[in-house]
Symmetry: C2
Subunit: 435 residues, 2 copies
C-alpha cells in the first residue's frame, strides 16, 4: 500500500506550485527576531513595504493629538527578488503589505491574511513575548459561535453576533458565567475582535493560565446599517465595509443594546445575569458606545472599559471647530499618511440617523447617577500618540472634577490594534474578581 | 445633537480613502450581468485577469481526463486604469485575481476575499440564479460553531471542527437532528466548506425553502498533520497550508473517524444517532475518505456522497504508471496552467504515514458487505472535464459489476468549487427523507 502515497504526489494539486510566488519564502522570522520579506517581481520599478512594525515620521500633529502613524521602507532588488530585512522586532502580531509601483498588494507567499474593515492585510507573529497570547497554544479551547439574534433595529429581522464560550461551557452544563460585551470601532463588525483582536486566542490562553476567570465574550455588530459582516447582510449583500459609517454608528445600537443584545444573551446562554457579572468594553467608536450604554444603564455593568474611546460626545460642542480643522488638514495630506488597515472603499456616508441621539444628552447628571453606586472598575486606556488622547484627557478631567474614580492606562503608540489587544489583556484580569 | 454626525465625518478613519485603489470601483456587476473590473495601476506594463469565469483553452488532455482548466485575459489600459468587461455571466460565485507584470494580486478595490488552501482570492456573486443559494438572504439563520474536540490523532490533544446547527437548534431544545459529515479535499481544512463551499448560506437558504430537512453539518479537519486551519495548530502555528500533504491525508482520519468525530458529535449535540440519520460526503480526497469511512463502517451511514472523489485506491495498482506520466507532464507545463485557488506555498511532503493503510484493502469484499444492506443513497458526482472522471468511471464499473445501485450526476466542468457547491445543493434534498 505504500504506493498509494506516490499516487498523490503527482496529483493535479501540484499545478500551481510552479508559480513565481513560490520561488521565495516570505516572511521569514529569523533567529534574532529580525524578519525578512521577499517578493519575486522582476519587472517592478519600485517596491515598498508598509507595515505596522515600521516606525514613521509621517505624523500630523494637531491640537488634539497625533493623527497618523504608519511607516514604509523601500525594498531592495536582488536579481528578480525584492527583499527587506527588518530590525529586531519585539514580540507582536504585525500586519503589512507591499506597494508595487504605487499599488498595494498582499504578500503572495504568505497565506496568513486578516481583514480590517475593508482591507485584507498580510500578517505574521514574532513569538516569545506578549504575542504568545495571540497564537493558538496547546491549551483547552473555547468555542466561537456565529449567532443570529432577533432585532428590529433599522427594520431588520435579525443581526449577527460572535459569541466566545469558555472551554468547559459544554462539559459543565450547570455552570453559569459572567459576560463581557466587547464592541468594535467605526467600520468594524462582529468579526473584528476575532480577526485583528485575536480574542479567541487571548481568552483561551489567559483562562488556561488563570490570568482571568472563564467568561462568555459577546461581540455584536454595532453598525446599524449592516446586519452582519460584509457580504452577509441579506438586504445589501454587496455593501462594502466603510469606516465612514458615522450615521449608522451613532445612537442606534446603544438605544436597543439592553433590550436586544443583553436580553438575548441572558436568555440563550448560561450567564450570571446581574451587574456584578456583566462587563462592557469597546474600542474607538465602540468605546463611545461603551461609555453611553453604561451611562444610560447605570445598574447593569460593574466593569466598563474604554479603549482609545471616541469620548467626543461627552464633551462640549466647541470642539467641533478644531475637528473641522483636522478634516481640512486630512484633505491636504491625502494619501501621504495611509492608516494600515483603516481603509475604506465605500465613502458613502450613511443616511441613517438615529431617533435616539438624546442618549448623548445630560452627561453630567447621568455620570452622577452612574457613580452614586460606582462600577467596580471604570477603565480608560489610550496611547500617547492617539488622536483621541486629548479627548480622553478632557473626559478624565470631567471624571476628576466629579470625584469619580477610574483606572487609567496610558501607553505608547496610537489608534492601533496593537494597543487594543494590549488593553484587552490588561483589562481581563481586572474583571469578575472573586468577592 | 445633529452636529455629532459632522464630528465623525472628519475623523481619522478617512485617512486611507485617498489611496489609489479608491479611485476605481471593482468589480461592477452590470445590469446585463456582464462584469467590469478596474485596476488603477499607471506604471504596469501588462495586467492580466485570471478568473473562474474565463474559459480557457489551456487543457492537458490525458488518458484519465482533462487536468487543467482556468483562463486569463489581458486587461486594457485606459488612462491610468486597467479595465476589462466580461461577457454576460451566468449566476455563480466567481473567484479571480490580477497578474500585474506576471505577479498575482487581489483586486484592491474588492473587500470580498476567500481563502482556498494557501491562496486568498477576490470573489463576487452574479445573482438571480443558482448563486442565490450562496448569498445570505433574509431567512432564519443557523449558527456556525468552531469547536475543538479531544483527539489522540498524530499525538495531538485536540482538533477543530466546524459545526453548522440549524436555526431552531437553540429554540427547540427537545428536537434532535440528522447529521451530515462533510469532508474537504487535499490541502483543505475545517474552514473549506464554510469559505469556498458557502455551506452556511446554502443550508440556511435550502432549509428555509423546504428544499432539505433541518440538519447538523459537521466539517472536521481531515489532515492529520494539522489540528486546525492554518495558523491555529498549536504545535505548528506558522505551518503554511499545502495541497501536497498526501501522507497526512491517507489512512489517518478515516481510521479514527467513528471513534473520535462521530462519537463526539453524538455525545455533544442533539443528533439522531443511527444509520438512517447519518450522511457522509466529501470532495476530492475527502471523497476518498467518504468512500472508505462508509465502506469500513457499513452499518453507520445511510447516505454517501462522492463529489469528484479520488477513487484511486479503489482501483488497481496498474494505474500508477499513467499517473506518473501525468506528473511528468505537469513538470513540463509548469506555470502555464495554474489552478485558481489550488496553489501551494509549502511543497514539503508530509513525512507522516499512517499505520492504518490496510483500511484500503479488500475493497470488493467490503463493498459486498456494505451493499448487503445497501445505503439509501450512494451518490457519485463528477465533471466531464475532471481529471478524476476516468477514476470515477472505473469505480462505477466496479459498482455496476457488483450490481450495486448508486445515483450518478455527471456535470460539465472540472475539479472546481463551482461543481462542489452544485453537488451539495443537488445532494441535500436527497438525504434524510421522511420514511
Amino acid at each position: 500500500m505504500k504506493k498509494l502515497i506516490m499516487l498523490y504526489l503527482v496529483s493535479t494539486f501540484g499545478a500551481a506550485v510552479c508559480m513565481a510566488r513560490d520561488k521565495v519564502e516570505s516572511p521569514v522570522v529569523n533567529a534574532d527576531n529580525t524578519v525578512t520579506f521577499n517578493l519575486y517581481m522582476p519587472d517592478a520599478d519600485e517596491v515598498v513595504i508598509r507595515g505596522s512594525f515600521i516606525p514613521s515620521k509621517q505624523y500630523l500633529k494637531t491640537e488634539i493629538g497625533t493623527l497618523g502613524k504608519s511607516g514604509k521602507v523601500e525594498m531592495k532588488k536582488e536579481g528578480d527578488v525584492w527583499t527587506y530585512t527588518s530590525a529586531t522586532l519585539p514580540s507582536e502580531l504585525y500586519t503589512y503589505y507591499f506597494e508595487v509601483d504605487d499599488e498595494r498588494m498582499l504578500d503572495p507567499a504568505n497565506p496568513d491574511v486578516v481583514r480590517d474593515i475593508a482591507d485584507s492585510l498580510s500578517y505574521f507573529v514574532v513569538r516569545n513575548g506578549l504575542a504568545d497570547d495571540y497564537i493558538t497554544r496547546d491549551v483547552p479551547h473555547g468555542t466561537l459561535r456565529k449567532v443570529w439574534y432577533p432585532s428590529a433595529l433599522n427594520g431588520m429581522n435579525r443581526r449577527r453576533m460572535s459569541v466566545y464560550l469558555p472551554n468547559d461551557y459544554d462539559s459543565a452544563p450547570d455552570r453559569r458565567y459572567p459576560v463581557l460585551y466587547l464592541l468594535h470601532g467605526s467600520g468594524g463588525d462582529e468579526d473584528a475582535w476575532e480577526g485583528c483582536g485575536r480574542v479567541v486566542q487571548i481568552l483561551d490562553n489567559m483562562i488556561a493560565g488563570n490570568q482571568c476567570v472563564p467568561m462568555i465574550v459577546v461581540m455584536p455588530n454595532g453598525n446599524a446599517e449592516l446586519a452582519a459582516a460584509p457580504g452577509s447582510d441579506p438586504r445589501n449583500p454587496d455593501r462594502k465595509p466603510s469606516a465612514m459609517n458615522t450615521g449608522s454608528m451613532l445612537g442606534n445600537i446603544e438605544a436597543v443594546f439592553m433590550k436586544e443584545v443583553v436580553n438575548y444573551v441572558d436568555e440563550n446562554f448560561r450567564t450570571i445575569a446581574d451587574k456584578a457579572h456583566r462587563a462592557i468594553a469597546g474600542l474607538s467608536l465602540g468605546g463611545l458606545h461603551t461609555l453611553f450604554i453604561s451611562l444610560n444603564n447605570p445598574a447593569k455593568f460593574d466593569y466598563v472599559g474604554l479603549f482609545s474611546a471616541q469620548t467626543t460626545n461627552a464633551l462640549d460642542d466647541k470642539r467641533i471647530s478644531s475637528l473641522q480643522k483636522i478634516g481640512e488638514a486630512w484633505n491636504e495630506l491625502k494619501s501621504s499618511i495611509p492608516f494600515i488597515g483603516r481603509g475604506s472603499v465605500d465613502r458613502k456616508i450613511s443616511s441613517l440617523t438615529s431617533e435616539n441621539l438624546n442618549i448623548y444628552d445630560d452627561v453630567d447628571n447621568k455620570l452622577k447617577s452612574q457613580f452614586s453606586t460606582p462600577p467596580k472598575l471604570y477603565y480608560i486606556a489610550v496611547g500617547e500618540d492617539d488622536f483621541v488622547k486629548k479627548l480622553n484627557d478632557d473626559f478624565r478631567m470631567r471624571l476628576d472634577n466629579g470625584g469619580y474614580k477610574y483606572h487609567y492606562n496610558e501607553t505608547s503608540g496610537g489608534h492601533t490594534w496593537e494597543n487594543w489587544r494590549k488593553y484587552l489583556v490588561d483589562f481581563l484580569p481586572r474583571i469578575f474578581l472573586l468577592d
